[in-house]
Subunit: 384 residues, 2 copies
Amino acid sequence: MREVIVQGIGQTRVREHWGRSLRDLAAEAGLAAMRDAGVERIDAVFVGNMLSGQTARQENLGALVADWIGQRGAEGFKVEAACASGAAAFRAAFLAVASGALDAVLAVGVEKMTETPGPETTAALATAADADYEGVQGISFVGLNALIMQRYLHEFQWKHTDFGPFSINAHANGARNPNARLRQPITERDYHRARMICDPINLLDASPIGDGAAAALLLPGEKIAAGPRPRIAVAGSAAATDSVAVHDRKDPVFLSAAALSAQRAYAQAEVKPEQIDFFELHDAFSVLAALSLEACGFAERGQGPRLALDGAIRLDGALPVCTQGGLKARGHPVGATGMYQIVEVVQQLRGEAGENQLSKAGVGMAQNIGGSGASIYTHILKSN
Amino acid sequence: MREVIVQGIGQTRVREHWGRSLRDLAAEAGLAAMRDAGVERIDAVFVGNMLSGQTARQENLGALVADWIGQRGAEGFKVEAACASGAAAFRAAFLAVASGALDAVLAVGVEKMTETPGPETTAALATAADADYEGVQGISFVGLNALIMQRYLHEFQWKHTDFGPFSINAHANGARNPNARLRQPITERDYHRARMICDPINLLDASPIGDGAAAALLLPGEKIAAGPRPRIAVAGSAAATDSVAVHDRKDPVFLSAAALSAQRAYAQAEVKPEQIDFFELHDAFSVLAALSLEACGFAERGQGPRLALDGAIRLDGALPVCTQGGLKARGHPVGATGMYQIVEVVQQLRGEAGENQLSKAGVGMAQNIGGSGASIYTHILKSN
């Protein structure tokens, strides 16, 4: 396998982009990544997206985006793995470059969600769940995660308020990220008083939907001349699945696909969890942050919230998470989220993370979750 | 790059499968491919599908199918490229095995279309076109192809009836394929009298929708011991795009993405068009058969129908096409079609094509088209 380098990154702000089309957003991020890499022609573009067919009446995004960024002729397809579509597109791009079949490959994650009426968006998001056994009951995606959180609180004896520091940390970092959807810091008092959405998930446990796109341009290491910028290598790229239906799992409060994909990524990158400098995790709901930390070996079973309560997840902590605001504050344009995570890891590794820059950022990890734990992608990037 | 071998194939019949779910169909084909290959554990499953979000309210098919075939933990995502989703999934699987990252990879194409009310299916299929510039005008997918055919008739001075032999050949072969959706042979008289759908496309120019799944199990050549069965290698795997909107193309009656992807595949496989023994082409509409033959170098510009009129495309001709019925008679369950083509090529190369077996079948080609020429995949398989 060839070494794969992330040579360029690009992103749009996450917000309500009512005046802009899906392809425009994808092109802004994609062209920025190509400029950043100094690449004018690409071989392929793989587009991570979940909802375009349902909300924009548009499929065939590979060809659509290739054309809009001036790369007619390049190959391309859409990759879908629910909210992990972004990381899945990145993985497809990684495999293509690693294989030797293609050289310059663009991975773009893009989603437009805010123009669609709320009930339609909720129904569209529920297609990440099991249509025949969960969706048919009318349960929403928030509802499924609320059941998981309720069970977690019961099983490990935490109070709801113990999850506050996850959201407070995310908002603190998001406030300093110019691309974030929510840039207001929040307090413990805000968290406690937030409106209940689906007990026990309140408004500040849940990430906001949004419109946006993020992209990365991948090249084989052998084609890159040494330059002044740090070389960002994909040291680990792995994925795993679990049952889509939550009730079908051996243990609904353990993300086995996160554990499996993290183990695979650690083995490839030849690192242990303690060597990860920071972690862009998938805090779609605060309970998922805890589950992700536990599955990846950063906390014992049931002890994820401890890392947040102790401040270990803050920028000055032992394992900073969601350094640019995470899903909670940067925002969660579902099919784009996994690519935002990759872009943010690269920013940190390059020392380009602005006010959120970490002092130590040599090995970064991103984990993207599709469905309530069904499709999970873990990537480890290294600066060398 | 590692050599990639198609070690197993599987398919369901194409028909109305009202009593069976999407995952059941995918599992029937996928498990058959695994059994055929003698493989019990896979590393990944990539699922080609276009419409599941819109028609089955189900996304996240990678995890869904992995679970349903007893491969929980294996990675997987859905690949979408409109009607070329099947071949796109096959290409993703090919790249994964070629890279060395994964060994046993299953590509499954699956679609359920017949339970959805007709107008909804028509609207869903229109998401293969450009939503902002074509879909918004209310034009259907058949409508777009009718414009292409009309222009072709005008430009190259063919009569509508000159396209009859494409459909007659497809039905003749489909009648002998136990998995085909339409098993009635048709006559020239039937073709002439067929109901007009969208002038000049009549009912017998158009392929029928359907429900079905087809799958292939890929392994690296280095892991396969010599056996009694012929070794089916993926000698060429290539794709290309053109603008999604037909009016945006330099020439609406030339499939530039077909030409580009075929040239790439020929170069990889080190063959010339005249060395291709048979060709599973994408006859969603009869005019596409002509355009595909021209773009791939089998006929001069505007001369595609000549091959049909002369009988060259028949099983006993110089370049048999649609040997198991093609989209026209085997049926066109859109996201599955590209995988049916691959399965049918393998059947011929193995000498397992039943009553449609060709006497000479050493090098076979499949071409799958997504949108009215926007995303085109060409694969060349060799028996050795």
